[in-house]
Amino acid sequence: MNKIIENTKLSESVVKMVLEAPVIAQKRKAGQFIILKIDEKGERIPLTIVDSDSQAGTITIIYQVVGKTTSLLARMKAGDALQDLQGPLGNPTEIENYGKVVCIGGGVGVGVVYPLAVALKKAGNEVISIIGARTKDLIILEKEMEKVSDKLIVATDDGSYGFHGFVSVVLQQLIEKGEKIDRVFAIGPVPMMKVLCDVTRAPGIKTIVSLNSIMVDATGMCGACRVSVAGKTKFTCVDGPEFDGHDVDFKLLANRLKMYCDPEREAYENHKCGCDGN
C-alpha cells in the first residue's frame, strides 16, 4: 500500500510523486487533498491531489522541498512506500459553468490550480490561466496547463521567461483591458493570494482561494488549521480548503503559518524556513 510509482523533479525544488492509492483515486474530486506520513517518527503533512487515475489506482501529488519532511520525500525512490496516506480530505471545489474563469497559480500552487482548471474546462468554462514563479526554472506544469486552458499566460518575477512581473499585474491588465471575468481561482503563496484578492475586490469579481494552513489531523478534530473568514473562525480542513478570498484574514493566516519557524529551522537547519507562505 501507498507505494511510490514515480518521484521526479519538475524543477530545482519542486517534485511530482505518483502514488498507489486505489480507494483515494476512485473517490477524489478537484480541490481535495491528502495527508501523508513517511514513517513512524514522521509528521503528518497535507498535499493537494493534483491528478488521479482510477483505472491504474494512482494519485499524483506535487510538492516543494521546503523542510525536513519534503526533503526526505524527495529522496524516496519508486518502489518505496509511505507508511500512512489518508484521504481524500476537504471539500471538493464547486465546479459549475461560470462562463469565463481565470485560474492563477504561483510557484508550487500551479499544482493545486491544475486540477481545478481541468474540471472547470470540462464543465464548459472558458479558461484563462496565469501561472508564475520567481524565475524560469521554477515554472511547472506549463504544457499541462496549456492543454486545459483557452489561453495561458506565463509570468516570472525576474523576467527570465514570459511576462516580466507578478501574476497579479497580469490579472490587473486583463481587467483593465475590459476582459469580462466571471470568477477567479487563485492559489499560491499567501502574499500573492492577498494581492490578487485586492485586485479583484474593486471590480467585484468573486475570487476563490485555496488556503495552506498548518494541519495535524485534517479531519476537524484539532483546529490547528483555523482561519478567519468573514470574521468567523473556520477550519480549513473541513470547511475548506477553498474560501471566498475577499473574506479571508490573510494577515492572521500568514502569522499562524510562522508559528513553528524556529523548530522547523532546527529540524532542517540548512534550508530556508518554508513556513512564510512560500
Binding site: T219, V227, Y260, P263
Partner: protein
C-alpha cells in the same frame, strides 16, 4: 485517589498505596507516574476483598467485570488466571485499571468503603493486566468460526474496540475503520503517556487484532467511503463510535493568535505525534514558558501537566468555578498540585492580547463569584464588575470541551442528530434512526468517560447480535 490510612481501626489492613515517581523528578519526564503494585502488595490488597455474596462493585462497572472472582485469583496468587477472568468481559483491562474513575464506579459500591476505604479494584485490575502483558505470554482464545456476517465499525476508540471484541467472539467478521494512523482514539491522542503509556494501548489493540478484528487506519468514513457505500459492499450492520472529537473554542477576541491551542491539538501533537520527543520525531510543539490552560476537566489536567513536562515555568489552570466544582478526577488534580501547577479559580478569560507578530502575550481575565444554583444544581459563575486584570502568557490551551464532528451525519442521509449534532439513538441498544446502524459513546452522549463508551459498545454488541440473529 485517597491515600489516607484508616486510623481508627488499626487492626485492619489498610488500602495499599501505589508507589509513584517523586513530583520533582517526574515533571521532567513523560514516564508513567504510579509504578503499580508489586505481587506482594497486590496479594495483600486482594485479601482485603471480603468476597460479598451480592457484590455491589459489579453493578458499578459498565462492562460487568467479574470483580470478586478476579480479585480472588490474585489473592491466591493466580495472576494469569486473574487477567483471563478480566478479559472475559473487558478487552482493555490495563487501560481501564488506569483511567477509569473507579471512585464513581466499582469502588463507590464496595462495601468496605462504607466504614473505611474500598478495595483498590482499579489498581488490582491494572496489576493483573500488566502481569500478563509483562510476562509476554498473552493467551489468545481459539478463533471463533465465522457466521458469515460482516460488521463495520467507525472509530477505533474505547466504544469501537469494545464492540469489535464482543462481536468477533460471536463469530462476526469485524472491520474497524479509523481516521487516524493509529487505533485507540482518545487513548492514543488524548490521554498522555504519563497517565497511560501508549505501549499498553498498542498491546491491547494487538490483542483484538489477534482475536480476528481487522483495523483499517487512515480511513475517514464519510470521506474515504460513506456508510452507504460500505453497506453496498456487503456489511450487514454498522456501529458509529467516532467520539466527540471536534474542539470547542470560546469565541472571544484574539483566540486565533499564534500560541493558542485547542487541547485536542496540543495533546494530539504531544501524544499521538510524540512532539515531546522533537526533533527525534518530526512534529513540533510550542514549549511555552507561561502556559495557561482554560478549563477544569481531566483534559485540562492532562494539558497542564504536559505543559510542565515541556518546560513551562508557570503552568496555570484557569477555571471559572471553584475547585469543588471541577469535573477532573481528584487524583489528577492532586497530581497536578504536587507537580506545581497553579490553580486560578473563579477566573475567566474574556480576551487575548497579542504582539505585532500575532503571538499571544497576555490574557485579559475577569474575576467571578458563584451565583444561584442553576437547574442542574451547579452554581453558575457571575462576573465581578470591573475586576479585569491581565495575566502574562505565551501559550494557551483551550480545554473547555468538545463537540460532535459533523462528517458522518452530513454524509449519511437519514441519520438523525440532535440540536448539538450528536447522533440520536432510540434506546440503550444504540439503534439510530437508520435500520442496521447503531451508535454509542461520546458521539451519542457528548464527552464522557472511557468506561461509559465501553459500556455503550457492549450494549450495542448485544443489540446487533439480536438484530442479525433475527434476520
Amino acid at each position: 485517589m485517597e491515600t489516607k490510612e484508616i486510623k481508627e481501626k488499626k487492626e485492619k489492613v489498610p488500602r495499599q498505596k501505589m508507589p509513584e515517581q517523586e513530583p520533582g523528578k517526574r515533571i521532567r519526564n513523560f514516564e508513567e507516574v504510579p509504578f503499580g503494585y508489586s505481587a506482594e502488595t497486590a496479594i495483600i490488597e486482594a485479601k482485603r476483598c471480603i468476597q460479598c455474596k451480592k457484590p455491589g462493585c459489579i453493578a458499578g462497572c459498565p462492562v460487568d467485570v467479574k470483580i470478586p472472582e478476579f480479585i480472588k485469583d490474585i489473592a491466591e496468587g493466580r495472576f494469569i488466571e486473574a487477567a483471563w477472568k478480566l478479559k472475559e468481559t473487558n478487552g482493555l483491562p490495563a487501560v481501564c485499571g488506569r483511567v477509569c474513575p473507579q471512585e464513581d464506579q466499582c469502588e463507590k459500591f464496595c462495601i468496605l468503603g462504607k466504614k473505611g476505604e474500598p478495595v483498590a479494584i482499579g489498581r488490582l485490575e491494572r496489576f493483573a493486566a500488566d502481569f500478563e502483558r509483562n510476562g509476554g505470554n498473552i493467551e489468545i482464545p481459539p478463533p471463533v468460526k465465522s457466521n458469515g456476517k460482516k460488521i463495520a465499525i467507525a472509530g477505533a476508540g474505547p466504544s469501537g474496540l469494545t464492540i469489535a471484541g464482543d462481536l468477533v467472539k460471536l463469530g462476526y467478521e469485524v472491520t474497524i475503520f479509523e481516521a487516524l494512523h493509529k487505533a485507540g482514539g482518545v487513548l492514543v491522542y488524548g490521554i498522555p503517556e504519563f497517565r497511560l503509556p501508549k505501549a499498553i494501548v498498542e498491546a491491547e489493540v494487538e490483542y483484538l487484532r489477534q482475536l480476528g478484528v481487522k483495523i483499517e487506519t487512515n480511513f475517514v468514513i464519510g470521506r474515504t467511503k460513506t456508510i452507504d457505500e460500505l453497506f453496498a459492499e456487503g456489511f450487514h450492520a454498522m456501529f458509529i463510535g467516532v467520539g466527540a472529537g471536534a474542539p470547542v473554542f470560546m469565541d472571544i477576541p484574539g483566540e486565533n493568535l499564534s500560541g493558542i491551542y485547542s487541547a485536542n491539538e496540543y495533546l494530539t501533537r504531544s501524544n499521538l505525534m510524540k512532539a515531546y520527543l522533537f526533533p527525534e520525531y518530526d512534529t513540533p510543539i510550542v514549549r511555552g514558558k507561561r502556559v495557561a490552560v482554560i478549563g477544569g476537566g481531566n483534559v485540562a489536567m492532562d494539558s497542564v501537566r504536559t505543559a510542565l513536562r515541556l518546560g513551562a515555568e508557570r503552568a496555570m489552570i484557569i477555571y471559572r468555578r471553584t475547585e469543588v466544582e471541577m469535573p477532573a478526577r481528584k487524583e489528577e488534580v492532586h497530581h497536578a498540585q504536587e507537580e506545581g501547577v497553579e490553580f486560578l479559580m473563579l477566573t475567566a478569560p474574556v480576551e487575548y492580547i497579542g504582539n505585532d507578530a500575532g503571538w499571544v502575550t497576555g490574557m485579559k481575565c475577569l474575576k467571578m463569584e458563584l451565583g444561584e444554583a442553576d437547574a442542574s444544581g451547579r452554581r453558575s459563575p457571575v462576573p465581578i464588575k470591573g475586576s479585569e486584570y491581565i495575566i502574562d502568557v505565551d501559550t494557551v490551551v483551550v480545554a473547555v470541551g468538545t463537540m460532535a464532528n459533523p462528517i458522518i451525519p452530513v454524509t449519511t442521509p437519514g441519520l438523525e442528530t440532535n440540536r448539538k449534532g450528536y447522533i440520536v439513538t432510540r434506546d440503550e441498544s444504540g439503534l439510530t434512526s437508520r435500520d442496521g446502524i447503531y451508535a454509542g459513546g461520546d458521539i451519542v452522549t457528548g464527552s464522557a468517560t472511557v468506561i461509559l463508551a465501553m459500556g455503550a459498545g457492549r450494549k450495542a454488541a448485544t443489540a446487533i447480535h439480536e438484530y442479525l440473529s433475527k434476520k
